[in-house]
Amino acid sequence: MDLYIEGIGFGIIAAASIMLGAMGFTLQFGLTNVLNIGYGALMTFGAFATYLLHVWGVNVWEAVIIGGVATSLLTLLVAKTVLTVYVRKGAALFEMAMITFGVALILENGLAAITHSNTYILSMGLEHAHTIGPIRFTSTQLVLVIIAAGVFILLDSFLHITKVGKALRATAVDPDLARTCGIATNRIVTVAWLMSGFLCGLAGGVFTIDIFTVNAFTGDSLMPLVIVAALMGKAGSVRGAVLASLVLGIVTQVVSIAGASSYDSVVAYGALAVALLANPKLLQGGLVAERVQITV
């Protein structure tokens, strides 16, 4: 029994990175309707930025934030150049997903070429472990969880209380209607790309601190869980993404501890596949199932 509680503890820590990524992904997806498979590459970028800054002597937590900012700028760049170009050419939903896949390949393999496919270690030094019951964790891991929780609270308040946040949610539901109501959807979409890029970079940085390592394909190991979590909640719903991340994080860790570690991803993907198949209306109450329009 203790073992399972330990699994829950690990799960919460794992959920920290998943959560940040999923919040960013669902914002992006909810607003633009583009299934960005290149998100993993962007997380890798965030991870590398954090690593490099840390190596250059920046405090690791500041590095995470600066890495997030860098990723947000890169995301906006990719969105406004590559993605816009193809949307204007008339790319449909699946083609956009393929395009993001192509962009991801270029980004990650480019990184691999530059780094000679090396893996680098991000060491946080030896740390003292705290315990709560059977759960043991380091200060760093605690900070990761606090960051994730804090970001969620900030983001959720932003979306529900501020004017820009409400405009974001309105545009996510119906961009045409939002435009008619006077919302500058172009600027809102830019904000969405920046914010989700920032969260993406944070996720990469947090993940790499959690697993101590970074290489050109780091984001790929986190991305599937991020996409699963984001799609299991309502598209555009940050709360849903967070809940799904917690569930996924805990389930995968518990499964891993129960001895079937090679099946942990299977459980996650299986959950997504079942969720999508059983009820496509689960996602956005039917809107996502029918929405064809892409807003970039």
């Binding site: 008339g90 699946f94 691999a112 090679s262 991803s265 997504l272 596949a273 999508l276 996502v288």
Partner: protein, 340 residues
């Protein structure tokens, strides 16, 4: 050097079959099978385990079945396994209204799960190490040198490709092929015309899956080995790029794509001397393929050989028995109407 030519041709044949199978599913019927590689792989595995012979106490690999069926039974079993998998998956995934990129995600997820399951479950197909020592057909009978056998296989694949090409072309140009395109263009309209879209989609998926599995079986009989390295889910991307670049909905285009992408960028560099750090060339290949895809989709979204259109003209008098002259017109996008 000779080796390079014969092996490239073998891969061309395999990728041609792959491209045709995906073109049928995606180019003609609009099904987004982003887990395509799983079908090629299951064909390879089942052909392997039905020809590799039973496990002995000395065996260093574990697997299911383990028969030594005579040629061509392993090929048939491999092909059928793909058909069965397609029938099951198709029934679960395709008989619902799900948006196109979600279908892609689900199929991708299937590929990822399959990879995990096979790697983790060593008793299935020997896990990450994969299977080796798979007998090549006719080798015992023909007593050819290694190079000779490679050329024999080229001939064998050529025959197969010609037969498959003719079969697929005939299917696609028939009225059945027309219903596929109708289904792809506007599913609801096709329904109003009496087309059973669900069933049609399933049938196409199964045929495509069978051909994909067939290609896998043929490949494994050539290579003699098969492991998870050979079927990561990124491989599906390569075949999609081939079909996109060559021309969707056009079987000659698909063949062209099979020529361009995997052979030139896949096989060719592996015969180049290694430069830079080890692994650099394969990294660069991915960048090149991705760039190729992005550029092609920008400049020529329909591909090098687009689908073309059927031109009909009336000859002679409007008499019931007059013959209609038909022609295919290649890449011209619009036809000026002959006055109003």
């Amino acid at each position: 050097m000779q080796d390079f030519v014969s092996i490239s041709l073998v891969y061309l044949g395999i990728y041609a079959l792959s491209a045709w199978s995906l073109n049928l599913q995606f180019g003609y019927a609009g099904i987004i099978n982003f887990g395509w590689i799983v079908f090629q792989s299951i064909g390879a595995y089942f052909a392997a385990v039905t020809s590799i012979g039973p496990m002995t106490s000395h065996s260093y690999q574990t697997y299911i079945f383990g028969s030594s069926l005579a040629f061509p039974l392993p090929l048939i079993v491999g092909t059928l396994s793909g058909a069965v998998l397609a029938a099951i998956l198709g029934y679960i995934v395709l008989t619902r209204k799900i948006r196109s990129d979600f279908v892609a995600v689900i199929m991708l997820v299937v590929a990822i799960i399959a990879l995990q399951v096979v790697t983790a479950n060593v008793s299935l197909f020997n896990g990450a190490n994969g299977l080796s020592g798979i007998p090549q057909p006719f080798n015992g009978v023909l007593h050819l040198s290694r190079a000779g056998y490679q050329w024999f296989y080229v001939g064998w694949l050529t025959v197969i490709c010609i037969i498959v090409y003719l079969g697929i072309e005939w299917l696609c140009r028939s009225s059945w092929g027309r219903s596929l395109r109708a289904m792809r263009e506007d599913e609801e309209l096709a329904t109003h015309l009496g087309i059973n879209v669900q069933f049609l989609r399933l049938v196409v998926f199964v045929i495509g899956g069978a051909i994909a599995a067939f290609s896998g079986a043929l490949l494994v009989e050539f290579l003699g080995a098969w492991s998870p390295d050979a079927w990561s889910f990124v491989e599906t991307f390569v075949v999609f790029v081939a079909v996109y670049i060559g021309g969707r909905g056009n079987n000659r285009g698909a063949f062209l794509g099979a020529l361009l992408v995997p052979v030139i960028f896949g096989v060719f560099p592996s015969f180049l001397p290694a430069f830079g750090y080890p692994g650099l060339s394969s990294t660069l290949q991915w960048i090149v393929i991705a760039l190729l895809w992005l550029c092609t989709f920008y400049f020529r979204p329909a591909g090098v050989l687009p689908e073309g259109r059927l031109i009909v003209q009336r000859e002679g008098q409007p008499d019931v028995s007059s013959m209609f002259r038909r022609g295919w017109q290649g890449s011209r996008k619009s036809l000026q109407s002959e006055g109003r």
